[in-house]
Amino acid sequence: MNHDFPVKVCVLFALGLTGCEQNDIKVYTVPKEQSAPPAMPDGHADHAAEPAPPKLKWNLPAGWKEGAPSEFRVASFRVKGPAGKEADVSIVPLPGAAGGELSNVNRWRGQVSQPPVSETELKALAQPVELAGQSAELYEQAGAGPNGEPLRILAVIQHRTGTAWFYKMTGDDQLVAQQKPVFVEFLKSLQFATTETAPAANADKPQWTPPGDWTEVTGGQFLVAKFTIAGGQAAVNISSSAGDGGGLAANVNRWRKQLGLGEQTSDELAKAALTRGSATFVEMSGTDARSGQPAALVGAMVLQPGQAWFYKLMGDAKIVAAQKDAFSKFVQEAKY
């Protein structure tokens, strides 16, 4: 019999039992991280999944401090008042109608312990303001916050091309009341920058007659319109950009990438493109980069003064082939 056997077993156990979760705090110094090179080159208008929010410009009011934008906020500000009082200003775009005015206003009222209002009462509450050159309604509510502190919320909801924009100032009752004229002035100063890649936000929908078997759905944040065909096996996305939207080649290559195809030179492209009426059509087939399924794509670009329109029919090859003519008619008959 081996005498040190029990000792061995104990040692083994000790080893095994130290495998508990380690909760030690680490402290270390590292060189500053180099900024990453430009990420995904693929970030244009119809990529609703990863939209690059349109640029907003504003005049920063005195006493406001800009915070870093977050996942949700395109802009964020802090306002400091006397005696450590604070208010927070945020600008948040959300796709779709985002619940509508009434439910949002009542949600804010709930936050300041106020009873909900009805649709007609809401109208009475609305205060007209000017926002980026358009009129909008401001809702103001005050009351006791979650911990009984006096709280005031100023909020404006504005709908632009399928997106609801929330402009909100929240904070200490007195401070916010005192800052209200500043906030209203700030709203007036806002401007949507029309950069090359941003969609022209003030573009209204052209007039068109979609074929009977297309279903209009709420598109991504940066689509003018979206239709699905055959239960989503194919879809038509429509977007627009200021200027020439980066030109035909850039957009066709963007589409090609969505189908997992390589880039084409503008010469190759010119050969492949067909012009019908005021629209230039391209066709391609490949593999949908997102679903991994074989897919076909028919794209069209229409140049209007100061504005480019992009139409994309993409999906299952058979359906795309069947819908091609209807799509082409739809594009050519759209009135701007």
Partner: protein, 642 residues
Amino acid sequence: MKALLKALPWLFLALFATEIIVVMLPKKDSAMHTADFGRLPVLLNGRIQPFDSVARNSLLQIRSTGDVPLEEVPSWKFWHHPAKLKSTDWLLEVFFKPDIADSRPIFLIHHPDLISELKLGDKGVEKSGLRYYTFAELENRLAEISAQARTASAIEDANRTTYQKQLLKLANGLLLYQRLKSSIQPEDTHNFAELLAKFQAALPAGLAALRAQQAGQQFDEAALKRFSGLAQQFDEQANFAYPLTVPPTDPANKDAWLNVGASVLSTLRGGGSLAPAVSFFARMATAYGHDEAAEFNSAVSGYKNWLLTGFAREVAKGRSEFYFNQIKVFLHATIIYLVAFMLAAGALLLFGPAPQLSESLRRSAFFLIGLAFVVHTFGLIYRMVLEGRPPVTNLYSSAIFIGWGACGLGLVLERVYKIGLGSAVAGLAGFVTLLIAHNLALGGDTMEMLRAVLDTNFWLATHVVCVTLGYAATFVAGTLALAYIVLGVFTPVLATKAGTANLGKALANMVYAIVCFATLFSFVGTVLGGIWADQSWGRFWGWDPKENGALLIVIWNALILHARWGGLVRDRGLMNLAIFGNIVTAFSWFGVNMLGIGLHSYGFMDAAFKWLMLFNGTQVCLILLGLLPVRRWRSFQLVQKV
């Protein structure tokens, strides 16, 4: 009588060997050299394969058979070979005589609700209780079928009803058929050569008009219209065709095969002439459509000769795979295994009452197993050469290999013990595994390419082969144990003398030896698998279902051995444990794939799940049988009486 008994094994061997040789001899082609066409190489699923493989795998997916029977023969008339449309002949019709192809009943629908939903009750042809429909009959239901299929495809696979699964299978079959139809010539073409000539004629003026239009200059509208109308047909074809049939014109880029439509359209960019393959295909199409055998044959041989200049390897690959498709080695092996199993079973049962006949049957079975093993090995190696891979690359080939391994073990046992049991086990295992393989082949191409992480011949040759041999050995041990229990309970055979001990003892020794063998291979195989995992994604063991399955076999075999060494079980217990090994192995082989999770999963198979449960049920019943008290065993009653 004695002479006859002596000659019987040789007679059996000669009979089946002759059949195999006849099958393997080269066949004469028909007047239209369709077999030559079937040998031509194309690129599909990432690999070069002959047209015949495209045809066969498509038919398997659509009709669940490799060819199309042309007449109804009652199944009891087994000697009557019904006239058949061979796979390549069917494909030629689909390509070049679509009207006739549309009238072939190939779409299997057997869900009664689906038949009534599509109002097909009065249509279709019934064959052995299954209803087959032609494309023509289904054509005006296409919209409805695809609408319903869309709804069904939105549902997760595991949650689909049988109705939805059938519908999806039908919809996929219809899609595949339509894609095949426009694979060589655009749909509804009657004279492909003429269409191409028209396109080429319209090309220069059309291109010029197009350029002018784009530059905003005056252009010939008629020329552009004529040209774009034609181009559109090829464009649709380019999007829809199934195999890539046109070899690359640039010999440096051997992989850049195109389909016909894409190849025709590529002349737009290069401004060059048509690829030679397209012209040959056009000649074949027109000749076949007009039944001109001489012209068709000359086009096929012309194309083959053209291919030989730059694509000799591809031609050779097409030829050898075509041959492999034709001889159907595994089908013949299956038949021989079945006959051998029945002979061996007869030998076992007649062991006591008619020893001489029994010995003659035993030798017959042994000879046939030997022949089947040779045929099986030939098929296995042929596949390996075709694929350039070790024997096991997917579930299908694992079934083939398990059968082969089990048969090999059975042969060795028979050589050592000479009592017919080894042959019986080999015959049964060979028959069942090849049957499973046949059903697995219905999913489509069995030589599909291996995804990145599996693309390593070293690990496929070591880990996969070891683990699969472990499966095979565990199954052999389980099957021997089954024989022990069935023979022991129902017959007095176990008590008969075999060599130095009685048969029961000999069986116990066999099972023990095989379990040792299984332990060795499954342990080494499993650890090698862990090392592979460590090499490819950084952890030796991840408790992945497939890994756990292999581990279960190792644990179980180790348990059997330790239980035996510790004297916890004797022969009967050993047998029951070995039968449970069948359940463990079946879970590891198939069950884990049905969990639908994990890195190794191949997908959910519900039909297979039913069979697996049935299998487990029978094994449990046999274990219960094995637990009967000894006095109820016929074999041991005798022992006690003696």
